[in-house]
């Protein structure tokens, strides 16, 4: 079998005796775009720093293209990697000086430097900015120079720490699309760190979900969304906690769960009498004025508590003995005449609900 481009074994890092990183195994394949996704403080940036030798782990082995990293080859291996820090910091001098800085560190010949500068500044639309100073650039332009400074080095590995942070939405989307295109075109093996789910799903060939220094699950965005390994992963991937209840009946994997005076149907492997935690995606909730005759197994007559605009959609907060959230379009809000205090029907398919062992079983804590 082909060796992984990057492999990590038994990596551990402690700070004040508290584990910051604990990664038994991690690997990256050639040309892959992996997104390290998790909340702030989950150890993502630290992991990148360890991989690019900016920080030493307490234990563990790192292999680059099968070569084990050690004091003798660390510097030489580090030149295969470019790591962009979260904050775009610039050196004294113009945009041109900054773009060339990495090439100078690597002692690339002057003619080659100029050729690469020409290519990269065209690719990132930086030609008119070359003689400007970083201080005179807008946030978006600075971010573009920051990214270009990495691509100009034509590294084998590219590690990016929240490269689209702090940009306005429109520009972020454009830069993300450009980045995706350039990454695919250059085929550079990439790890990108982010705490924003949309970014992770959009940019990843594979996502690694990181929480408290551990990687909980690795897979394609589809794999992780459709089959999250734990309740934490499902929550990080956008599922909301619905409610906790007790399994009343089970029929070939279709469970009847009793909670807050309602019966909810969902698929799961739990046994009768067990406590279960239910999670769902708010965008899968259907709202209707009259209860429609459909295959949807769960219908609740609910009261609307609040309606708020939320990222091009409307978030509707519903009360049916437990809290339920739904995302609906503006058209639906108008058509259904949704307003706080009104009662309507809310439906959710049994297959859209994920079941987890409940807290009373002592396994999941969410």
């Amino acid at each position: 079998m082909e060796k992984p481009e990057l492999e990590v074994r038994n990596l551990k890092l402690f700070a004040r005796n508290k584990p910051i990183l604990n990664l038994p195994h991690f690997e990256l394949r050639k040309g892959e775009g992996l997104v390290l996704f998790g909340p702030n403080g989950s150890g993502k940036s630290t992991f990148l720093r360890v991989l690019s030798f900016l920080q030493m782990p307490d234990r563990g082995e790192i292999y680059y293209q099968g070569e084990k990293a050690g004091p003798h080859n660390r510097r030489q291996l580090s030149l295969r990697v470019v790591h962009l820090l979260q904050k775009p910091v610039f050196f004294r001098g113009s945009v041109r000086d900054n773009l060339l800085s990495g090439l100078k560190f690597r002692r690339v010949q002057a003619r080659e430097q100029e050729a690469r500068l020409e290519k990269i500044s065209a690719l990132f639309h930086l030609v008119p900015l070359l003689n400007r100073l970083p201080d005179q650039l807008s946030g978006g332009e600075r971010q573009r120079v920051h990214l270009a400074r990495a691509f100009i080095l034509e590294p084998e590995f590219l590690f990016l720490d929240e490269p689209f942070n702090g940009l306005d939405v429109e520009f972020r989307d454009k830069l993300m699309a450009d980045f995706y295109r350039i990454r695919k075109a250059t085929g550079v093996t990439t790890i990108l760190v982010t705490h924003i789910r949309d970014e992770a799903v959009y940019l990843a060939d594979r996502i690694a979900i990181m929480l408290e220094g551990n990687i909980l699950q690795t897979g394609t965005p589809e794999e992780i969304s459709s089959a999250p390994a734990t309740a934490e992963v499902s929550r990080l991937m956008g599922q909301e906690v619905l409610v906790e209840g007790v399994v009343e009946g089970s029929d070939g994997g279709l469970l009847e769960i009793k909670t807050c005076g309602q019966v909810i149907r969902a698929f799961g492997q739990q046994q009768r009498g067990q406590r279960v935690l239910l999670t769902f995606r708010p965008e899968e909730v259907i709202l209707a004025v009259d209860r429609p005759a459909t295959s949807v197994r769960n219908w609740f007559y609910v009261e609307i508590r609040d309606i708020r605009p939320f990222d091009r959609m409307f978030l509707v907060l519903l009360d049916c003995g437990f809290r339920l959230k739904a995302f609906v379009s503006r058209a639906s809000v108008e058509e259904l005449r949704l307003e706080p205090g009104r009662k309507i029907w809310a439906g959710i398919k049994a297959s859209a609900i994920t079941t987890w062992p409940g807290q009373a079983d002592g396994e999941q804590d969410i």
């Binding site: 962009l84 910091v89 050196f91 201080d135």
Partner: protein, 223 residues
């Protein structure tokens, strides 16, 4: 006092204090870089000592250098007492803590993320130092300005270890003291004006280098 004598005194002032300032920079900057990068037990104490040394009284320095080079002193065999070399050594000791202290302060002003990013882009140890010095060069110029200013204007140390020997170790400050004592106020004032002018010219030169750097940073029109 004739013109030749005045020119000799002025030239000696410039060379003694200039050499002391340059030497202190050559020694002080590597010390500051070492202190910046290295963590060791007692570092805070060392830095506090250096910062205290920035206010070292020149007469105290003069006294210790004199004790060192006195004929019966530990370095007496070098026969440096009452020579320009002893004056340079004394002024070097006065300037050194200033250069180390101010340079270290300037280095510590540099955003540590700049260095981390340089490393992440592939900078070696020496390249990292080059980045650091480039980022902090305004502060280093300030350090050399302060050091030169301190030594060109001091009188205690050069008087004690130089002896104000006419035509050999007499510099502007010691000459001013001498002329004032003798009641030759006209000469004293002339020498004082020359000292001020000299100090101004050297600082003008250093400041213009510093400002040029600052403008390059702010003004987009350079290439």
């Amino acid at each position: 006092m004739n013109l030749k004598e005045i020119l000799e005194i002025t030239w000696l002032s410039l060379t003694v204090s200039g050499s002391a300032a340059v030497l202190s920079m050559l020694v002080g900057l590597p010390v500051a870089i070492f202190l910046y990068f290295r963590r060791f037990p007692g570092k805070k104490f060392v830095v506090t000592l250096i910062n205290t040394g920035m206010g070292l009284p020149p007469v105290v320095v003069g006294l210790f250098v004199a004790l060192l080079f006195w004929r019966s002193g530990p370095l007496g065999f070098l026969q440096l007492m009452y020579t320009p070399a002893a004056m340079i050594i004394a002024q070097f000791i006065i300037a050194l803590p200033l250069v180390v202290g101010l340079s270290l302060a300037a280095l510590e002003q540099v955003d540590p993320d700049v260095l981390l990013q340089a490393r992440a882009l592939g900078a070696s140890g020496f390249q990292l130092i080059a980045v650091l010095l480039k980022e902090a060069r305004m502060g280093q110029l300030a350090a050399i300005i302060a050091a030169f200013g301190a030594v060109i204007s001091e009188v205690g140390a050069v008087l004690m270890v130089g002896g104000n020997l006419k035509g050999y170790t007499r510099v502007l400050t010691t000459a001013i003291v001498q002329e004032t004592r003798m009641g030759n106020f006209r000469s004293a004032v002339s020498l004082a004006l020359i000292l001020l002018a000299l100090s101004f010219l050297v600082n003008w030169f250093l400041t213009s280098i510093q400002q040029k750097g600052a403008n390059r940073w702010k003004n987009p029109s350079w290439k």
